[in-house]
Structures are given as C-alpha cells and as structure tokens.
C-alpha cells in the first residue's frame, strides 16, 4: 500500500458541517418532530419567521482536498480564517471523522493543536508531564526516558514539583510545549503553538521544529498566520481557500498567492482608500493612493529589526514627475515623531504600483500611528502635497538579550539612534 516514503496521504476529503439547528436538542423535541412527521403534519419545532432554507443547511468546511506528504518534509498550511485549516488538522489528528474521503497516515502522529491539553492546575508540573504525554500517546516508560530532557528544555527547573496553578503563564506554556516537542512520533502536526512564551523561547521552539524535520527526518505539518515562521520552517506550502487547495508548492509563491487573495477581500493589514474621504486641503485628485498592503499578515507586532515591506497602488490622472512619498510616524496620541521620505518617483497615467521597504529599527517597542503623503518636490526645497491618507496603526516588538538592554522609552525617548561605534586606537 505504502508508496516509497509517503507519510500522509489525503484523498478527496470533504467535511460537512450543519448550520443552524442541529436536532431539537431535547429528547421531547425530537420525539415531537418525529411524531409530527409520522402523521404528515407540520413540525411544531420548526422556527417561525426564520429563513427556512437556512435551517439544517450544510456547509462544506473542506470540499475535496487531496495531497500527499513525504518523509522529512515540512509543509506549511496557510489560508484566511474559515479556509478550512483547523478542520483539516482536526481530521488529520483523528479528532473528528471526514464526511467523505480517506486519510492514511504512515506513522505515529504528535498533534499540538493546543499546548497543555489536559493540564490540571492542581497537579504538579511533573504529574502533568506524565498525564499530558500519555494523552498525546506516549507510554509511561517513554516519558520516563525523556523526563530530564523535557524539564531541561522547558526551563521550568525546580518548579517541576510545584502545582502548575502556581506557574506564570509563560512557564505553563513552556512546559506544555516541551512535552509536545519531545513526542516520539514520525509526524508532527502543529497549529500556531509557536506563538508561546517570550521571543527567545519561540526561537528555541522553531529551532527544535526545524531539527525535527531536517535532522530527525520527521514530517512536519504546520498551520500558522505568521508568514515569517512559515517561511522559516517550511519547505513546501499548501494554500487553502474556501475548503479547497488553491496552491501547493514553493513557500514564497504560496505566501504571495495567499497575500494576494487576502488583498482582494480587503482584510487584515491591507488598506483600501477608494472610498476614503480626503481632507479639504487635498481636493486636487490628480494623484490618489488607492491601496496599501503590508507584506506582514498583521502589523500589530512587527519585529523591530525586520524590514517592513508593503505595496502601494497609486492612481494618476496624468503623467507626473518629481513625486515624493512621505511615511510619517506619529506616537500613540498623534504627535509627529519621525518621517521617512522617498524622492524622484515617476507616475504614469493610470495605475502605478510601488513596492516599498522601510527600516523601522530606530523605533522602540510601542504603538504608532502612520500617515502616507504623496507630494511634488518643487524648486529650492519646496513641496506641495498631493494626497494624504492614514496608514495602519502598528506595533513594534523587540528581543532583548545579554548584549542589549530593554529600551526605557519613557526616559530615553521613542527613537533609538544607531548604536555608537568605538573607534580603534582612541582608547588612550
């Protein structure tokens, strides 16, 4: 049956959910409905005044999904909310059964749909490791063999014999993740579990996952909204949309397709200004910013050092020269803070697409408001604004370690100037 090194084979899988009323919910109601049908009368439990077609209508969470995954592959599954990602994972981990189709797994599955499933607050860390491990399919002997490794990885240390209700939430998820990460399985299925703990621990988790695929030859299936981790961890990408696979292949291409699909629906970090009412001072509509789409899935927590990429679409009535773009950053209450400019743009009539990259590494972790302004550079340094739209409100997050201290923005300001350089031979 098994061909070469196939680990997961999914063929024509469909999952149907019923919308609206599921049964009467009470035995009496069901009996009443049954008796009414038996006599050919109207069901007394039918809701009056609601759309009759909706009651009991079905909805296909997955509509004919087929793919195979080979040994050692790390596959990312992406798609917008409601695309069927979670349903697919539930079927693969045997939590619920498909309505149609077949799923074959050629290996033990470690599922991490939620870390800490079955953790009991009254029990100690160690007891919970045993229980959680057993729930995930390990035997006592296997857990015994890995206990030391699990405790070490979790960084919980001496707290292992303390009831987990006394743990901080960080310790809790670290311990839970450690158990799941040390499962002896050939297939690992994960649903955004990496979004746990601090940045440092997240990095550690990612490394562990990558090792699982590359060094230990495990098969990894990873669902996430975080494109950066998908890019980091996976070497193949499946894009789901409305219960179907719309792309299966290279990661970068998959992410691009996913982001493009999202842009059309105008959600998340994409902004559409076609209906935006401009301020009275920029009524000249020769140049109009139509849309801005950030490459990041969400701009709520951008990493300080990572470049911020976005694409902007500008509609121009006629060709224009010497156009500039200002990206204005304001603080939380709207006071101007810093601005990044781009000069020498040329607009041709119709739609102009700009792909931009910004370096925001000088901003401290905080929330910021933004504005995008198009202007025409005049002679002698003058300029006249053409269009101005508010950008998304974004947040910056940062990692700290031994070589960097946490930035005290209240005393040192929101802007971090570049680090000073120590010149050689000047110490004397």
């Amino acid at each position: 049956m098994q061909q070469d090194d196939t680990m997961i084979r999914v063929r024509g899988v469909k999952k149907q959910y019923r919308l609206g009323q599921i049964g009467g919910g009470t035995l009496r109601g069901d009996l009443q409905s049954w008796w009414a049908r038996k006599r050919g009368k109207e069901d007394p439990n039918t809701l009056i005044g609601t759309d009759q077609r909706l009651i009991g209508t079905t909805f296909m969470a997955l509509n004919g999904v087929s793919f195979t995954v080979k040994k050692g592959e790390a596959v990312g599954i992406i798609g917008s909310n409601g695309a069927g990602k979670s349903t697919l994972l539930k079927l693969l981990t045997h939590v619920t059964a498909p309505t149609e189709g077949d799923i074959d797994l050629y290996g033990r599955v470690a599922s991490m749909l939620e870390v800490g499933t079955g953790f009991h607050p009254e029990m100690t860390g160690r007891e919970n490791v045993y229980l959680n491990g057993a729930i995930l399919g390990m035997t006592r002997a296997e857990i015994d063999a890995k206990m030391a490794e699990i405790i070490a990885f979790s960084e919980v240390g001496d707290f292992i014999d303390t009831p987990v209700k006394r743990y901080s939430s960080g310790m809790y998820v670290k311990l839970a993740f450690s158990v799941a990460a040390h499962l002896d399985s050939e297939i690992m299925i994960m649903d955004e579990v990496l979004a746990v703990g601090d940045m440092k621990f997240q990095k550690k988790c990612l490394t562990k996952m990558r090792q699982a695929a590359t060094r230990d030859g495990k098969t990894v299936l990873y669902v996430s909204h975080n494109m950066a981790t998908i890019r980091d961890l996976c070497d193949r990408c499946i894009v789901l949309d409305q219960g179907k696979i719309v792309f299966d292949g290279a990661v970068d291409e998959g992410i691009a397709i996913y982001l493009a699909a999202r842009g059309q629906s105008g959600s998340g970090s994409a902004m559409d200004y076609t209906r935006y009412q401009r301020e009275s001072w920029c009524e000249n509509d020769a140049l109009r910013i139509r849309s801005i789409r950030f490459a990041a899935d969400s701009v709520e927590a951008l990493e300080r050092t990572a470049p911020v990429r976005l694409t902007m679409t500008v509609d121009a009535r006629q060709a224009a020269q010497q156009i500039g773009l200002r990206f204005e950053v304001r603080d939380e209450v709207g006071a101007p803070l810093a601005t990044s400019c781009l000069y020498g743009l040329q607009m041709h009539p119709g739609e102009n697409r700009l792909a931009l990259e910004y370096d925001l590494s000088m901003l401290s972790p905080a929330q910021y408001n933004t504005y995008f302004t198009l202007f025409t550079a005049g002679e002698g340094g003058g300029n006249s604004d053409e269009d101005c739209v508010p950008g998304p409100r974004f947040g910056i997050v940062d990692t700290y370690g031994e070589s960097r201290v946490e930035w005290n923005a209240r005393r040192w300001g929101l802007v971090q100037l570049p680090d000073a350089r120590l010149l050689p031979g000047m110490a004397e």
């Binding site: 599921i22 049964g23 040994k71 309505t99 009991h120 029990m123 057993a134 729930i135 995930l136």
Partner: protein, 285 residues
Amino acid sequence: MEQTQTYHVHYGPAKGWSRVDLGELWRYKDLIWLFVKRDFAILYKQTVLGPAWVLINPLLSAAMYTVMFGVIAGLPTGGAPQSLFYLAGTAVWGFFAACINKISATFTANSAIFSKVYFPRLAMPVSTMLSALINFVLQFVMFLALLLFYVAKGEVAPNWALTPLTPLLLAQVGLLGLGCGIIVSSLTTRYRDLMVVVTFGVQLWMYGTPVVYTLSMIEGMSRPLYWAMLLNPMTAPMETFRLIYFGSGQVTPLMWALSLAWTAVLLALGLSLFSKVEKTFVDTV
C-alpha cells in the same frame, strides 16, 4: 520499494455501527491509569479531611439509612446487624451509582480536551469506573473491619468459602455501570435533558433494587413485584454480596443468568453507541 514503517492508520467517514478497538485501548493503559490517579489526587486537594471523605460519605449514608429504614421503618435485614447491612448496601450501590453518574458526563465534561486531541475516548469512562472501584475497595476495607467486629461478637456468620466470588461480582457491577454510563453519555451529546434525569433515575433504580431492604421481604409481600425485581440486573449482585458476607441472601441461577444477559446486552449496545458517537461528537457539542 522498501517498507520502512509498519505503522499505518486509516481514517474514513463515520458510517454505520463500528467496532471498538480494544487493542488500541490497551495501548493507552498508562493514560487510563494516570486518569485514575488524577481523579483521586485532585478530588480531595485543599479539603480538610482529604481522602477520608471516601469513607465518611458512605458512613453518613449508612447511618441515615439505619435510622430511616432500620429504626423508624423497621425493615427486616435478614438477620444481619443493621449498621453492617446498610453499609454493605451503600458501598455496593454507591459503586454502581458512581459509575453511571460520573460516566454519563464523559462527553459533556471533556468536550474541550476531546476537541483538541485524539486518544481512545473509552479511556475516560473506563478510568472513571476504575476510580469508582478504588473508592469501593477503600469502603470495603472499612466494611470488613466492621464485619470482623460483628463476627467476633457472633452476630453474623459469613460464607467464607464464597468470598473469592467477590471480584467477579464487582466486575459484573462495574461492567453493568460502564454499559449504562456510556449509553447515557452517548445520548447526552444530543439530548442534554438526560443529564438531569440520570441522577434522579439512578436514585429511583436504587429503591427498585434490594438495597435498603431484602429480596425475601418483597417475596413475602407481592409476587408480581418479586418477579419484576428478578428482572433487575442489580438484584443478583446485591443479594449475592449478602449471601457471601451475611449468609442470608437469596440467589438463584436464573437471577444471575438474567443479570449477566442484561450486562452483556447493555455493554454491547453502549460500546457500539459510544464508538459511533465519539467519531463526530466534537462537531455537535
């Protein structure tokens, strides 16, 4: 083409009645045992008397029954000392009732964990039954102590030769409770009303079983009631327990045959119902 893995699972649509994979359940025996330990460990955390409650509860019930049915109503106990008689009744029935009451909440109480991770769902009810069994064993030790006291006083004469039957009797009660419990738990995924009914129903069942009275008392009162009671699968274990430890029960092969048949039917029905419900129940809760 080399076959590297022998391990293979196949999931398909949930159709028709399915078989229970007892081999898989056995592979998860460590989990079952950990659930049992957890149940016991957490139940009495942060209570003053701790595990002593396992013994205090039946003692209080037995005391209440002794006053109500023994002293006030003056029901016959077939010659056994009243306190011993009612303690035996509450312990055995308590085991059975705990099985049904706790197992019936299997799906509703664990829906969060069931919708996140797969393990044989049957591990939950089986571990619940084992927890109830451990509680019973503790109560049984207390019962034995009281029994020896009365034996020393010469007030009761057990059939010591029959005592090895006790584990069989407990297995029968446990499996019957498991069967009933998983039937109710499977139905409660759809009909929540059953949750309300079950506690009351179990209490009603107790009064329809020779727990606070003896079968011979009913036999002397009403013939139809006696026959009805023979159909009750819990009658045989209750009376057998008394036959063993008080030497005064009324047990016939027919009673046991009926009881075993009931248990087999209910357990088989429960298992197939349960395994059908467990596949898709997370979609309906």
